[in-house]
């Protein structure tokens, strides 16, 4: 499957901005199952400085600095990505979750895919007993990890209501858990808190998902959005496997992975450090367009 993705971010600042240091996590990852064929960013005003580096999780991060005084900034990224993921593993064959937890603590790696980075509470995901207890219901003794994790994904889908008014970016996983509602970010954070509470490595995945328009209707432009789900480490043989609690499905050919991190705070698509007074307004449009004729 090949997608064209257009992601437009527009900031309107209440005061003049003199210096704008920005970090962009917009380039989809190139990794097994996912290949970036083309990628381009257009920024207004024109940045003076531009650089790209890999962060601790091997995400490609671009930075730029705008030094032209401005009150508006727009960043448009266009990517063409080819997705051809391997099928999920046979759940029953994956190792017992307790074994995975022990292997994670024993890991002798600090490489970007090391489970060691995904074990502890992070800036937005603190561990709370209720989440661990909730997860534990699926993680019965010696149960294969992927089997248990898929069940947890389905339970979150069933038990939690999708409600874009219930939470904000700053809502803690504990609050979302208490309310049993939220958006993809909240579901991902709750699931991560539950898994880490059991000593299992879990990461936050930010990216896009293709939306299928209702039968007979055309796809609405700009109607898509950034999406978030979870990656669970299933031992050295299986590595990181993606699970989407918002849709109760495994990461598949409708998902495009942009970045992985400990939680949302590690992977916002655009963040900036500005020298300015006052606040700003933000406007985001995302289009995920399947490229017809190529599969």
């Amino acid at each position: 499957m090949i997608y064209d993705i257009v992601h437009l971010t527009r900031y309107t600042y209440n005061g003049p901005v003199v210096v704008n240091d920005c970090v962009l996590r917009l380039r989809p990852r190139s990794e097994p199952g996912q290949l970036v064929l083309a990628f381009r960013v257009e920024a207004q005003p024109t940045p003076r400085d531009w650089g790209e580096h890999s962060d601790a999780f091997a995400n490609r991060v671009a930075r730029m600095r705008i030094e032209t005084p401005h009150r508006e900034m727009s960043i448009k990224s266009i990517s063409r990505v080819e997705i051809a993921r391997a099928a999920p593993p046979l759940a029953a064959l994956t190792p017992a979750w307790e074994t995975v937890a022990a292997e994670a603590v024993d890991t002798q790696s600090l490489a970007p895919d090391s489970p060691a980075f995904a074990l502890y509470p992070s800036r937005l995901v603190s561990l709370f007993p209720a989440a661990a207890a909730y997860a534990r219901e699926s993680f019965t003794d010696r149960r294969p990890i992927y089997e248990a994790a898929v069940e947890l994904t389905k339970r979150i889908y069933k038990d939690f209501a999708f409600d874009s008014k219930a939470t904000e970016v700053t809502t803690s996983p504990a609050q979302a858990f208490e309310a049993r509602r939220g958006v993809c970010q909240d579901f991902a954070h709750v699931m991560i808190a539950g898994l880490r509470g059991l000593g299992l490595p879990a990461l936050y995945v930010s990216g896009y998902i293709r939306t299928i328009p209702p039968p007979g209707k055309a796809r609405l432009q700009g109607a898509d959005a950034s999406h978030a789900w979870v990656a669970v480490w299933c031992g050295p043989a299986y590595g990181w496997l993606g699970l989407d609690p918002t849709n109760a499905i495994p990461e598949g050919d409708d998902h495009i992975v942009v970045a992985r991190g400990r939680d949302y705070a590690d992977v916002p698509p655009v963040e900036g450090v500005v020298l300015s007074y006052g606040g700003h307004e933000l406007d985001v449009e995302v289009d995920v367009i399947p490229v017809v004729g190529k599969t």
Partner: protein
């Protein structure tokens, strides 16, 4: 012989005194004590100290009081996390004494440990053999944000990860010293140690020299040399990067900056620029910052690569480090070594990395992330101390930082055991530590109290150097497992006692290498900004006080001009409302009192005094203690007023006092402040504010229809009654009053006088380009000044006074654009020469 008789009787008296002080002094059972040895005898060096103190017992109280006074006068303070007010530094009466022979062993142990930690850091962030070969579990590092994955593969420009390391040590049950914790992030306390030394040595000069105390100044000289060697240039600009005045140890940062001659900077002072080097924003453009002594935790130092919520850091700093454009001490990421989990591995790593056992062991520690260690800890649960492996708290440890199994209730035990079984990686077990004790002075008696000693090591071109002395924290309770600065804990000076008199040295450099510099480099933009605003607030405070005084005194004075008196009072209130000192909506029954001390009104004298205090606190290292104390009085005097409604007389007394304080401050700035750019900005702030205020007051009280009473108020407000009446005999009239307030270049209160000074000040400031074209602030100031020179009072329109006021406001904005943070950064790309 009479002399002998006197001496022996004196010494008998001294002995009696010591006996009285130490009556009942007994070490706690099973715990080593500094004063009384394991065999029950008093240690000779302590006896010597006490006997010499006892020689003149009457003087002791006096000396203690002198030390207290010195602590207050020097403004020594610290902050407890979560509190905004600073606390006065609690300095213990008695120093901790350690004989030189024993100290040399401590030195060796601490240097060896610093060497080990340097090697661990270099491997973890470099080759990675310890992790790859299983000597150190990756998960034992990643539990703390102080492990910075982004630093892997970075070669610190100076080639080392540690510049300053500190070890918290205590005496174990066998009497030997043990390491309780490592400090490698940004070890605090060395500045306090230095301050403690200054205060104690000055309070007890004789004792200090008789006891042969080793000096700490050479350590700071070595530290400075070490920092200097880290820079690329031969005369590097060294900056202390502080989180700012709300930091717990800001006093120390400011103090060390002043003592070592480093610049105190905040993240917003710095910018990564040309060649991925780090530059300081100064009023003369961007200047290279070569070395940063980091007092900001790693996680916060670069919002681009690390925590993006940070306002304390420098965007792109890590990238600049990779490019070799700046030296950061200690390297970001060094702090993970502080976590308790590391104590479990350092002893084993010693054998591998330095081929020897540690000379000074650390308390035995087991990281419960490993199954064997976890089993052992759960097995010995009752007799082991459980603590968080990485932070201050973990599940089951919410109420206490350290728990010993046997001291927990059933429910707590079960919770903690289950938590360790579920997520052992969050916990360590440690052998139970009981700190050894030293004498603490309490109500004229000595009592044994637990203490922790922090020892500092610096990497210098001549190898590791240890500060002979350190920072001791003494608890106020007999049983303390952890001693951190907070309620009841005192800090003690630490005396390393040499066998023979000590050669004195200070930070004075070798005469061949000194050169005379009259001005101190380039003023950082933020300092200029704060000095400017300090000047403005001080002037605004004065203007507000004069307005309130005019209001109150008119209420009191039965002989005030009858015609228009009521109207004048209303006009004064109106101004105070416009000023933000009185709330327009609420009709305050006592407007003068409200304008004086209502904290919720941003224009009240109290609010302005607070703002002046804050502006000054940010540039504290540039102010003398006396200045700082006077600035503090501006607000403390207002806060000290009785809570009940104030009488007009009380208000007037208070205002007179406040005005005297401001006059004293003005005097200090005029007489003592170096005439560098800093003083110019303070002056600019005052002059601009005074010009604007005088315009506002003139518009209110010297408009075309002003009454005699109005003009009288104006003369009061601009403090020109005497001058006016000595010059003009006909009584108050509009034109001469206006001339005096606005145009008279000889009257230091007139607007024209202010604009001339402003023009002079700006003309002395550095320019960005050498093309001879005046910059915007100078252009505006020159034009305004020339216009006021040629204006005539009786032809002045009301509107033109407003015009002058607006142009002063524009001038202030132009100054901000050109010299302060925004201006400096906006112009970064236009600057011709960098460096």
């Amino acid at each position: 012989m009479p002399v002998t008789v006197r001496t022996s009787s004196a010494s008998a008296k001294a002995e009696a005194q010591v006996a009285q002080w130490t009556a009942g002094y007994a070490p706690l059972p099973g715990i080593p004590d500094e004063f009384i040895g394991p065999d029950g005898t008093r240690r000779a060096h302590w006896t010597r100290l006490l006997t010499q103190l006892a020689a003149d017992p009457a003087a002791v109280a006096e000396r203690f009081a002198a030390a207290d006074r010195r602590v207050r006068n020097r403004g020594m303070s610290y902050r407890v996390r979560g509190e905004t007010a600073e606390r006065v530094w609690p300095l213990s009466r008695l120093p901790l004494l350690i004989p030189a022979a024993e100290w040399r062993k401590i030195e060796q142990g601490v240097i060896q440990r610093a060497e080990l930690i340097e090697k661990v850091l270099a491997d973890v962030y470099g080759e990675g053999k310890l992790i790859a070969e299983g000597a150190l579990p990756a998960a034992a590092l990643t539990g703390t944000a102080d492990f910075v994955a982004a630093m892997r593969g970075v070669k610190p420009p100076g080639g080392r990860w540690l510049r300053v390391y500190a070890a918290d040590i205590g005496r174990g049950p066998d009497g030997d010293w043990w390491v309780l914790g490592d400090r490698a992030q940004a070890p605090s306390g060395s500045g306090y140690a230095l301050e403690n030394r200054l205060v104690v040595s000055q309070a007890f000069p004789d004792l200090y020299s008789q006891m042969n105390v080793e000096r700490v100044a050479p350590f700071f000289r070595d530290l400075r040399a070490g920092m200097k060697s880290g820079g690329e240039r031969s005369e590097p600009r060294i900056c202390i990067l502080t989180p700012g005045p709300y930091s717990e140890t800001y006093f120390e940062h400011a103090y060390l900056a002043r003592y070592l001659g480093f610049l105190l900077v905040e993240g917003s002072d710095l910018v990564v620029g040309e060649g991925r080097r780090v530059y300081l924003r100064t009023i003369a453009g961007l200047k290279r910052a070569d070395v940063l002594w980091r007092q900001v935790d790693s996680e916060w130092i670069d919002p681009i690569e690390l925590n993006s919520a940070s306002k304390l850091g420098v965007p792109g700093l890590l990238d600049a480090m990779r490019a070799g454009g700046v030296e950061v001490e200690n390297a970001p990421g060094a702090g993970f070594i502080e976590s308790r989990a590391m104590l479990a591995f350092l002893p084993r790593l010693a054998k591998r990395l330095i081929g020897r056992e540690l000379e000074m062991p650390n308390i035995a520690t087991w990281w419960c992330g490993q199954p064997g260690a976890r089993a052992r800890v759960l097995d010995k649960f009752d007799n082991i101390a459980i603590a968080s492996a990485f932070g201050d708290s973990a599940r089951g440890l919410e109420k206490r930082r350290v728990a010993v199994g046997s001291e927990l209730g059933e429910a707590e035990r079960a919770t903690l055991k289950a938590a360790i079984a579920a997520r052992g990686l969050d916990y360590v077990g440690q052998e139970v530590v009981r700190l050894s004790t030293m004498p603490r002075w309490e109500d004229g008696m000595l009592v044994p109290r637990p203490f922790v000693l922090r020892v500092y090591v610096a990497a210098t071109p001549e190898g590791w150097k240890v500060m002979p002395g350190g920072f001791a924290r003494v608890s106020d309770k007999p049983d303390a497992r952890a001693v951190s600065m907070g309620q009841g804990v005192e800090s003690a000076d630490v005396w390393v006692l040499a066998d023979k008199p000590v050669v004195t040295s200070s930070l004075l450099p070798n005469p061949e290498r000194t050169h005379i510099a009259r001005l101190l480099g380039n003023l950082p933009s933020r300092a200029a900004d704060n000095l400017f605003w300090f000047g403005r607030y001080l002037e605004r405070c004065e203007a507000t006080l004069r307005l309130v005084r005019a209001l109150s005194s008119r209420a009191l004075d039965p002989e005030a001009p009858v015609t228009g008196a009521k109207e004048a009072a209303e006009a004064l209130k109106g101004l105070l409302v416009a000023w933000g000192a009185i709330d327009a909506k609420e009709k305050s029954p006592r407007p003068a009192e409200t304008a004086l001390r209502e904290p919720d009104n941003y224009g009240s004298a109290l609010s302005i005094a607070n703002a002046a205090n804050f502006a000054a606190s940010v540039i504290r290292e540039r102010l003398t203690q006396q200045t700082w104390a006077l600035i503090g009085r501006l607000r403390s005097d207002l806060l000290a007023l009785p809570e009940d409604a104030l009488t007009d007389a009380q208000i007037l007394d208070c205002i007179d006092e406040q005005l005297t304080t401001i006059a004293a401050l003005s005097g200090l700035f005029d007489e003592n402040f170096n005439r560098g750019a800093g003083w110019r900005f303070y002056e600019l702030g005052r002059r601009i504010e005074r010009g604007i205020n005088t315009c506002r007051i003139s518009r209110q009280f010297a408009h075309q229809k002003a009454t005699e009473s109005d003009l009288d108020v104006l003369l009061d407000l601009i403090d020109s009654q005497i001058t006016y009446h000595s010059r003009t005999l006909i009584g108050v009239a509009l034109a001469p009053v206006r001339d005096m307030a606005l145009l008279d270049p000889y009257n230091p209160r007139s607007v024209a006088f202010q604009t001339r000074r402003i023009e002079e000040h700006i003309a002395t400031l550095p320019v960005l380009r050498q093309d001879g074209i005046p910059e915007e602030p100078l252009r505006l100031a020159t034009r305004l000044s020339a216009e006021l020179d040629t204006e005539v009072a009786d032809r002045l329109e009301d509107a033109s006074v407003l015009g002058i006021e607006n142009r002063l406001t524009q001038l202030a904005e132009a100054i901000a654009r050109r010299y302060f943070l925004h201006g400096a950064s906006a112009r970064a790309e236009k600057i011709m020469s960098l460096g």
